[in-house]
Symmetry: C2
Subunit: 390 residues, 2 copies
């Protein structure tokens, strides 16, 4: 078993370009620096590939400065791997250290920044998490003099929402890996298989197809459609009349795919087939409505029109799509309230759904790259007719 | 392929017992409630099995009250799964909602708590993360009147550090799954295999052996020992003279194992074999030093004596062990500064390590259940002689 899926490593100029764009965003948002501590943002700026963040014992930090290269402030155990990357200035301490787990090093580095605005952005806001306890964020805030730690989420997402070609290549690969496995589902799944067995075999195939990691494989079935789509797989055996729903967030070199597929198990009712057709059509309209210059909200509205005469119950899951990248969901949200203007280079999951009867959900999801004139479909479009399991 | 590894589902009385212990801890720490939002703490109190938290789009909350059952405050998309669990009071809102993503519901629920101390604990401190943006924590703090949101980490870890029999059963199963795969490494790994290939095959075997998820498989090799142990697998081919290091955090029904194994690739130098013997002996001493009533620090010191005449350079990774449970690392830390007194029911990873030459690490890790008179070894003890790969 060898890795078939391969991409060229990110070049140093890729990271330099990200930093340069970050510096542009800092000027716009009046920031002297960006302090990041989450796995995804540290990876974004340094290229580190690590699962060490699964442990909450030690915080890691990167300070992206308004001028010059970023500084890595990492536990001593992380110094060696950081030295293999492009960031040159690395400061470290023997972590975990309860009373000062990098706090004073971070305060010092932030204090050394040339002061133009007296503000440094941190991962305080929308769809971001910090890689340290909240009490440490508060300690850093208190320890800074003449510099304020403010919400840097707008600057961060302004950057990360627009993907480089090299980033899109990774998302494409993750999608292709999952797509190949989705195609084989009718071959390896039989009536009577449990959700757990199906999930395990699906995961085995993702693994052997070259997935870097497999954080999410949702596998839910019920008569006419799953009643919910957030939980783990059960011992339930799929049966005639079910709709089998599989959704995966699989990564390749750090970047996610996120899309689902539906399978008709044995015979389906007319109500299910009609709901499926409606959602498939809504997806079609949603895909066609994407292009640079329109709002995320307008994509939602285009799909909502297909799904409903009014807009009743369409927003109970809050949205019908989202961004995709180093996280399985990223801004923007495809929803009425999100006026984000789509730009070329954004990658979006377009995800209309319908609870066509109480407890029976049909959900479709495709992924697109936004282009100037429209979009490029990254997923292999789901067939209009439900694939069938016997 | 069927699931061989099985355990009985957690009973409702298991969760009631956790809540009852939480309420005892709240009295000790003068808290009127515990507000949790992280995946692991929500799972601890409700039993939810979900990977939905991989998305940062929607926060989930559980408020554990000083009296009565907990209240779940969850996005509408999460209501259906929450209704299948034991928690009866469920409040929800259409998330994601940018201006009030559950904040007012949380403030309301906290405000309804009978006030005895005027303090509610949240996941603000040691080895905890919140499942919402920091700005939302600050909004909740500001919105509360007459109740203060304080660091609840001591109360939370006081609870979670002591595992029930049902929790230990899950850790045991995760360990047995990984242990079975470790035993087969000399069978399926050959000189010339890449780290990536070895990691992928290791993961395939964990998956087919019944792992619920496989968040961490570290696979690093270098001549005489890996120079670092935090990064992802490389295209490097293992070669004669290497030490191959594999470390996995694999879960079963939410609970982790976390332990490593080392393999001699071809011939080893005397220096490596001596270092290995020293670390193996340190582990032996560490295991023997564990029992209820001694401090975590004393276990560290027992191992440090074997590894070094002084205590030079032993603490560069900060510690030689840690707790284990719903996270891959949990308190306490096996380190000089951690005076936590070990209690029966704690599960500890005992992990002495040595950088015997610059850039050559030997690390051993075993897992024990602390008992009144000593400990029960949960891992199958690593052989004193390095297993060999040809």
């Amino acid at each position: 078993m060898e890795d078939i899926a391969k991409v060229e490593r990110f070049t140093v100029s890729e990271f330099q370009s990200r930093v340069s764009r970050a510096q542009q965003a800092m000027r716009e948002h009046q920031l002297d620096g960006l302090l990041v501590s989450s796995m995804d943002n540290i990876r974004y700026f340094t290229g580190i590939d690590s699962t060490f963040w699964e442990s909450y014992a030690r915080p890691w930090f990167v300070l992206v400065r308004a001028e010059g290269d970023p500084i890595a402030i990492v536990p001593e155990i992380g110094r060696s791997i950081m030295e293999t990357l492009w960031v040159k200035e690395i400061r470290s301490w023997p972590s975990p250290r309860r009373d000062d787990d990098g706090t004073s090093l971070v305060i010092q580095a932030v204090s050394e920044l040339p002061r133009r605005f007296g503000r440094v952005g941190a991962e305080l806001g929308m769809e971001l998490r910090v890689g340290m306890p909240v009490s440490q964020v508060l300690d850093i805030m208190k320890g800074l003099q003449g510099v304020e730690l403010v919400d840097g989420s707008k600057a961060i997402w302004q950057l990360r929402m627009i993907k480089s070609e090299a980033e899109v290549a990774r998302i494409r690969t993750a999608i292709d890996i999952a797509g190949g496995v989705y195609d084989t589902v009718p071959d390896f799944v039989r009536i009577g298989d449990t959700e757990k067995r199906i999930q395990r075999e699906f995961r085995a195939r993702l693994n052997s197809s070259g997935a870097s990691s497999i954080p999410v494989v949702i596998c839910r079935s019920d008569i006419g459609g799953p009643f919910e789509i957030t939980g783990g797989p059960r011992d339930r055996k799929i049966a005639d009349g079910d709709l089998l729903f599989i959704d995966t967030g699989t990564t390749f070199d750090g970047y996610y795919c996120d899309y689902d597929r539906n399978y008709q198990v044995g015979d389906a009712t007319d109500a299910l087939l009609q709901a499926h057709e409606k959602v498939w059509q809504a997806n079609e309209i949603g895909l066609k409505s994407v292009r640079a210059g329109v709002s995320a909200a307008s994509v939602f509205q285009a799909m909502a029109k297909v799904l409903s005469s009014g807009e009743e119950d369409l927003n109970s899951n809050g949205r019908m799509g989202h961004g995709l990248g180093l996280r399985v969901t990223e801004p923007p949200s495809v929803k009425v309230e999100d006026q984000t203007v789509l730009q070329a280079g954004m990658v979006l999951c377009i995800e209309p759904g319908l609870e066509y009867e109480p407890g029976k959900i049909v959900l479709h999801e495709e992924t697109v790259l936004v282009t100037e004139g429209g979009m490029e479909l990254l997923t292999k479009r789901a067939s209009r007719q439900l694939p069938r399991i016997y």
